[in-house]
């Protein structure tokens, strides 16, 4: 069986700047693949190349077994795209929007109507279906946009930052919708800036930076490399910051980061909850007064730091 996406050495330049600089990536059938990276890493450019919206300059890119350059029309029959903006027509109702896209996928009127009804139901939009989309909330527009990418029953769904700028409740609803699709056998490629999102949805995460893949693996594998979670301590007094850092360093040598300016000390840990208890105990033993202590998921910055030795911000400055 061929892979959903096979990218080898994909390069795409805009003028002199390379948005994709020899990207290698493979996505398998039956999986959700997440592309994780900071702004400007090339996530959107890659999705657009997969969707045949950009021609690539070098390398090879095959989608569902078809070459994106030579067999673009075949690729388009197998994909559904939901971009960063809700590309729906606000002057039309939700139903009209979906029926329009279904018709463009070559469905007859009746089939378009039926498939639209199913998608509206799946996304919990049936009630609002006959209202014009301009009356929809931001979250509903995103859902309708997702619906538009689904109504053609694509093999591969491309979601470019599906939840950026979406409120937390709508985000959870969108996640549910994506999971439901995957359960029905749709392959998904999504991009995100949120590790949490990739962790929730993806079977495989590819971290990209400056147009190249810098790491890939299952969420568990990647987390294994950076530590499953992070303990973060907000120290009350500036003088205590190095003391707290020392106390934590004894628990997890080499995995402690200090931010003097905000009096925050953080430490990667391997998931066991007793680490938090141990950390609190050793801080108490060192008589460090703290404002706050928390156990949380690593941020994208921390993933980057662990994998590349730099934060995305350093990248931006260096570039």
């Amino acid at each position: 069986m061929t892979a959903t996406i096979e990218a080898a050495g994909v390069t795409k330049r805009f003028g002199k700047a390379a948005a994709l600089d020899g990207l290698d990536l493979e996505a398998e059938h039956g999986q959700v693949t997440a592309i994780l990276g900071p702004n400007g890493a090339g996530k959107t450019t890659f999705v657009r190349a997969v969707a045949t919206l950009h021609e690539i300059d070098e390398g090879s890119l095959r989608v569902n077994g078809h070459d994106v350059t030579r067999e673009a029309a075949k690729v388009r029959r197998t994909i559904g795209l939901a971009g960063q903006y809700a590309a729906i027509e606000p002057a039309m109702t939700g139903r009209e929007n979906l029926e329009m896209v279904a018709r463009l996928f070559g469905q007859g009127r009746r089939a378009a109507r039926q498939n639209t009804a199913v998608v509206l139901e799946t996304l919990d939009l049936t009630e609002a279906a006959d209202r014009r989309a301009r009356t929809y909330s931001g979250g509903m527009r995103r859902k309708l946009d997702l619906g538009a990418s689904l109504v053609g029953s694509p093999k591969l769904l491309l979601l470019d930052e599906p939840t950026t700028g979406v409120d937390p409740r709508s985000r959870l609803e969108l996640w549910d919708a994506v999971r439901a699709l995957v359960a029905q056998g749709t392959d998904v490629l999504l991009t995100t800036q949120y590790l949490e999102e990739a962790d929730h949805l993806a079977d495989r995460i590819v971290i990209i930076d400056r147009g190249r893949a810098v790491a890939a693996g299952t969420p568990a594998e990647l987390k294994g490399r950076i530590g499953g979670s992070v303990i973060e301590v907000h120290v009350r007094a500036q003088d205590d910051v190095p003391v707290a850092a020392n106390a934590l360093e004894m628990l997890e040598p080499g995995r402690v980061n200090v931010d003097e300016s905000t009096r925050r000390v953080s430490m990667g840990v391997d998931g066991e909850a007793d680490r938090l208890t141990l950390a609190m105990r050793s801080l108490a033993d060192a008589s460090v007064a703290i404002d706050d202590i928390s156990l949380r998921q690593p941020t994208l910055d921390e993933v980057f730091l662990a994998l590349t030795g730099r934060t995305p911000d350093d990248e931006a400055e260096a570039a």
């Binding site: 029309a73 809700a86 590309a87 002057a91 039309m92 329009m100 896209v101 996928f105």
Partner: protein, 260 residues
């Protein structure tokens, strides 16, 4: 799989028309604005503007008004297409299994329909404010048809501008180009009264050829003596300009669309 060129073109056109009909700003812009300006020119400025040639101002104005109306409709087109680019609608269409030409052709059909609607309203308003034909009805229909053809041709310029602008605000700014194009011509006042440098521009403007073509077709024999040439002179030049607009801007638009 994927819809054919006819279906996809019609679906794309239908959406653009629904957007026009159901968006109050667009309907108002495309319909009421034209009538309003006609009333203002006819009654506010009209009394102060004399035409030396023995043609009444209202008869002078209305053909010019309809002919330049295509520019204002066109400005709306470029904002519309820029919005579609900005909001990812064009991307969505380009990612679908449809002939890509249908995206542009569908848009073009819908824009032509709104153009016909706006100009027809303008003509009706023209008769209401006192315009009267001096030529044959057939010539008048030819004038209307010529305005539509010219409008479709100029439409490629605006489609192109909208695509390159890429967002609605920029397209709106570029749309101001319409003001000098429309006003530095013989559309609203005879070019003779302009300073000499501007007069040169006005007399060679494609808009002036189009306006004078519409005038000579609707005003009969009076026009030929006032304008200095028979109708055919202006019609041929207006059509030549229309062809030039299509030849220059249609390929540019298509190229931009492919690359986007």
């Amino acid at each position: 799989m994927g819809s054919g060129i006819v279906t996809s073109t019609l679906v794309v056109a239908r959406r653009a028309l629904l957007k026009f009909i159901r968006t109050p700003q667009l309907v108002v812009f495309g319909s009421v604005q034209m009538v309003l300006f006609l009333v203002i020119f006819r009654y506010v400025f009209g009394g102060a503007i004399g035409t030396a040639s023995g043609i009444s101002y209202v008869n002078f104005l209305v053909p010019g008004f309809i002919a330049t109306g295509v520019l204002f409709v066109g400005a709306g087109v470029s904002v519309g297409v820029a919005e579609d680019m900005e909001q990812g609608f064009i991307d969505r269409l380009r990612s679908l299994p449809i002939p890509r030409a249908s995206v542009l052709i569908g848009r073009f059909l819908a824009d032509t329909a709104t153009l016909v609607w706006s100009l027809a309203l303008g003509v009706a308003a023209g008769f209401l404010v006192g315009f009267r034909l001096n030529g044959s009805v057939l010539d008048a229909l030819a004038a209307f048809g010529l305005c539509i053809v010219f409008g479709c041709a100029v439409g490629w310029l605006f489609l192109c501008l909208g695509m390159f602008a890429g967002n609605a605000q920029a397209a709106q700014a570029v749309g101001f180009l319409v003001i000098p194009l429309a006003f530095i011509s013989s559309a609203y006042v005879p070019a003779e009264t302009m300073p000499s440098w501007m007069r040169v521009v006005a007399e060679h403007s494609p808009v002036t050829y189009m306006v004078d073509a519409a005038r000579s077709l609707t005003l009969g024999p009076d026009a030929a003596s006032a304008l200095g040439h028979p109708a055919g002179f202006f019609v041929i030049r207006a059509l030549a300009w229309a062809a030039a607009f299509v030849l220059i801007f249609a390929p540019l638009t298509v190229a931009r669309f492919k690359r986007a």
